[in-house]
Subunit: 301 residues, 2 copies
């Protein structure tokens, strides 16, 4: 028997701890066939969950918005997340927890109210949404006005979801054009978000971030808290592409890397093509917060 490589990641499914490579969802599960599923992702840094309560609370809100109901309580979920990270032994991890509509209780039924919803979770080594060299030089984002973000009266972006078709199309265009990633506009031409990150602009010392059409990111929230603690004004408002192109600095926020400098959008260059000064200070504060015991919870390895 081959030795199991738990460091590649672990999963919890139907009460069992298994290697992540063995964790799968039936091809007929509506979580797959209808993308009728919600999830969340928390990170473990230096052996500690960062802001786990915030992620668990957001996940509960997503469940309610999606009318998904699972057996596990918040404490059960917390316990499961500790278990999978401990089993993997990972000290830096990307930890995903998921609730799926599941399959109809009666074969062939098409009523979403009559399905066996289920919860599962998995972790893998920490995922950087942007590579470290890209973070150092600043992220180059592509905006393709031909592809717009799914509108919130179609799919609610505040219930974290796997509807990435718009992101994927735009990401292909961005990669083809030599950019690191993409940023999507809504129907009115306002900034929304990119695949896995929120966006902020800084103009004359004031920080702005889109108010609608976006996930209410935990790292977005942390960035706003850091600004508040440092006397930097933040406005949550509509931000048009034109406004963004006039910005002094830009940054992205994501669980997969924190506060990330953005230095280009299409052919516009910001902050001398290098990470901006305010952005860099916020980024330092973000990582310092990981040493604050109030923000973290040690994994029970």
């Amino acid at each position: 028997m081959n030795e199991i490589n738990w460091e590649a990641g672990a999963a919890w499914m139907k009460g069992e701890l298994i290697p992540v490579s063995q964790a799968s969802v039936p091809v007929t599960d509506w979580g797959l066939t209808h993308s009728d599923i919600t999830y969340d992702v928390v990170h473990v840094w230096d052996g500690k969950f960062f802001r786990l309560d915030d992620y668990l609370l957001r996940f509960e809100n997503s469940l309610r918005k999606c009318r998904l109901s699972v057996e596990q309580s918040r404490q059960d979920m917390r316990h499961i997340l500790h278990q999978i990270v401990a089993r993997s032994g990972l000290r830096y991890a990307y930890v995903s927890f998921v609730a799926s509509r599941g399959q109809p209780l009666v074969a062939g039924c098409r009523d979403p109210r009559e399905c066996a919803n289920h919860f599962y979770a998995w972790c893998v080594p920490f995922v950087w949404v942007f590579t470290e060299d890209v973070i150092e030089r600043g992220v180059r984002l592509h905006v393709d006005e031909q592809v717009r973000r799914i509108e919130q009266h179609a799919v609610d972006p505040t219930a974290k979801n796997y509807h990435w078709g718009d992101f994927t199309r735009a990401l292909f265009a961005a990669k083809d054009a030599g950019f690191d990633n993409t940023l999507l506009l809504d129907e009115r031409g306002n900034l929304t978000e990119g695949p896995g990150f929120n966006i902020f602009i800084i103009q004359d010392g004031i920080v702005y971030t889109p108010r609608s059409g976006v996930l209410e990111g935990i790292t977005r929230q942390v960035a706003m808290e850091i600004c508040a603690a440092n006397g930097v004004t933040v406005q949550v408002t509509d931000v048009s592409l034109d406004q963004a192109l006039q910005a002094d600095e830009l940054f992205a926020t994501t669980t997969g890397g924190g506060i990330i400098p953005v230095t280009r959008i299409n052919n516009h260059v910001f902050s001398n093509d290098a990470p901006g000064e305010i952005t860099s200070r916020l980024r330092d504060s973000y990582w310092q917060l990981h040493n604050d015991p109030a923000m973290s919870e040690a994994v029970c390895y």
Copy 2:
């Protein structure tokens, strides 16, 4: 060892024929986590695939639109579909074939161009999108103007996809209000489609169906062919909700049941709350076509 119940369905995955209940997709596959996946569904009726070439051709188009590339040729796919239905022994089947983005070739990579795309297929007993008693009395559809169809500049509805978040929200509202199913409007208030079906209206003997924001359904195509063969004019055009509410008759089309009478939208009643006369004739023609050797291909059991 328990005997395998192949009649519940069969699947083809990585070169192997397995019971559908054993077919699954990894929790980290982008087909799941980004709903970065396309599929098609053909039906087998009385031991024969109906219009299989049309479905295979549409699937190839979906692959191209999604920039997915799989090893299997059209002939390979055809062979696989025959194999799974033959293995199941089902004479009336819902046959799904799928291509997923898969997983990145390098762990942690976020570039959709660098993934191991893969193909799989599965079949289960024929699925009726509407139950037979509902088809007999006529379908009652709910239109909820608060939920709109995902726009085509976000996700292309002509590449058949699992982005059903809008459908699911609207379906909950429909079921809660006591309706059979839902029909979604686009941003401008025009009809689009429902979950798994296209819509047609008939006014003064002319048949209309939405031109955009919809899957180009094979059953929709067959319905238009039947109309043409019977001298009935079809216009593929924008159809507003107001126009639809003035219609003499309505019907839906789906691989999961063919041409289906619709008798109500919200509190509007059509064709005396019974299947319309033209609709019923079209429906009869649809089933008669299943006896036309040019339309079908016998499963190699």
